[in-house]
Symmetry: C2
Subunit: 279 residues, 2 copies
Amino acid sequence: MGIEKIGIVGLGLMGGSLALALRKKYQNIKIYGYDHNSEHAEEARELGLVKEVVDDYSKLDMCDVIFLATPIDGSIEILQNLSNIKKETTIVDLGSTKALISNTTPSTIRENLVAAHPMTGTEKSGPSASFETLYAGKTVVLCDINKSGEKQQKLAQKIFTDIGMKIVYMDSKEHDRHAAYISHMPHAISYALANSVMKQEDPRSIIALAGGGFRDMSRIAKSSPKMWSGIFKRNKEHILESIESFKNELEKCEKFIENEEWDLLQAWMKEANKLHDIL
Amino acid sequence: MGIEKIGIVGLGLMGGSLALALRKKYQNIKIYGYDHNSEHAEEARELGLVKEVVDDYSKLDMCDVIFLATPIDGSIEILQNLSNIKKETTIVDLGSTKALISNTTPSTIRENLVAAHPMTGTEKSGPSASFETLYAGKTVVLCDINKSGEKQQKLAQKIFTDIGMKIVYMDSKEHDRHAAYISHMPHAISYALANSVMKQEDPRSIIALAGGGFRDMSRIAKSSPKMWSGIFKRNKEHILESIESFKNELEKCEKFIENEEWDLLQAWMKEANKLHDIL
């Protein structure tokens, strides 16, 4: 398949973990990294995530594949600046919203781009959060795949499969709506849950009682505000729609409690149990 | 400390796991079980959770300690019927709301009762969900402890410590309010999240994208509707208050997104991050 050199822009959790997974799989490959935060770049090199870092992402143009593991606004800008990339090069964007990237990439390099969203991550960020198995066994969504060149499609499919991912195909707009429900809105809920407890008179006494349920529900409230406010900005309409849908359900629950309609409350809970027949 | 016989009423996840933990710790003890669901009782015996089951909980009156691992309404009724229990016997109620139990137990046996809430559990229920380490390393809240007799206090403290729990003391009403925030309201959120996704046109396509965040956030939406509607019924006011507080935070998030106030959104997320300095 001819992969000799891979470039990774953004050496945080996603980019750093990808470097580790790729090196494990492809022993003879050279991986070049870039991060606009020079401390992160140096840290990634010291941690051995990448062997070599470059001081400008344009220097990655000699790579067969360039992964963009950067916040969405960064990726959009980078794609504008890579508009002279070679015809054969594959660029894989890994951001959490896809329609904007898919539609704003310069048409001259649209076939170079594969718009991907790996459905994985943790609440941690930065190079030191990276680990080799972040991607293994997880799903990656490839969006608007017919807009990518044939070579680029095949290369991206091969790499994601090689690092153990399951591939799902989707229209980018449909992806953004689905991602709002399954990932973005749950982050809003987790942040709101954490804040509602923190606002109480004595949060320490409340939090002393935390069991596994609360820990799980509040874990993603540790996530990076910078990254997530960026995602909310770029998927505004779908996130607002999904929050409304969630509030609507929560308000049903409230009404059943207020009206002491315990049978209706139980039936509503039983509906929710059904999620796990398909999850 | 003179513990020879222990009775457990309710042989589901909580009671069954307690039996396993107790037998591990106290090898020479006899554990008697009761469950009003005779199939559950038989299953618990077959699984080896208890060696002997009785057909009426009143027959547990020869035990040194009786644990009530039953839904709250069941426990209230049982306590009414145990009002002739011996002065030395310890009864430990393990339910999720405590003020009602603490205040409705007949005064003749109030000193027998220790009102406890172990802050542990899983989304599973029934005897087969039991496992030995459910309680280990977790927190148990002892409520209105001065209303328990001295002997009963000491015995409960010893047992919970012996099975590896950390003890916290709290007024029962304060407990109920705290438990609403840290446990009950998060269950309402998880059920609402599951239902909001299930109501979409194509839930399977959305759920196919589920990563770790959504799995964690929706895990407790598998929990027993019967048990949780009972808890919501018995902690109505505090749960409604905590849902309001949560909605208030979620609506701040919504407003920031609607108004495109990204800096305020980020600041709000940063507040939520602080939870994890104390959790």
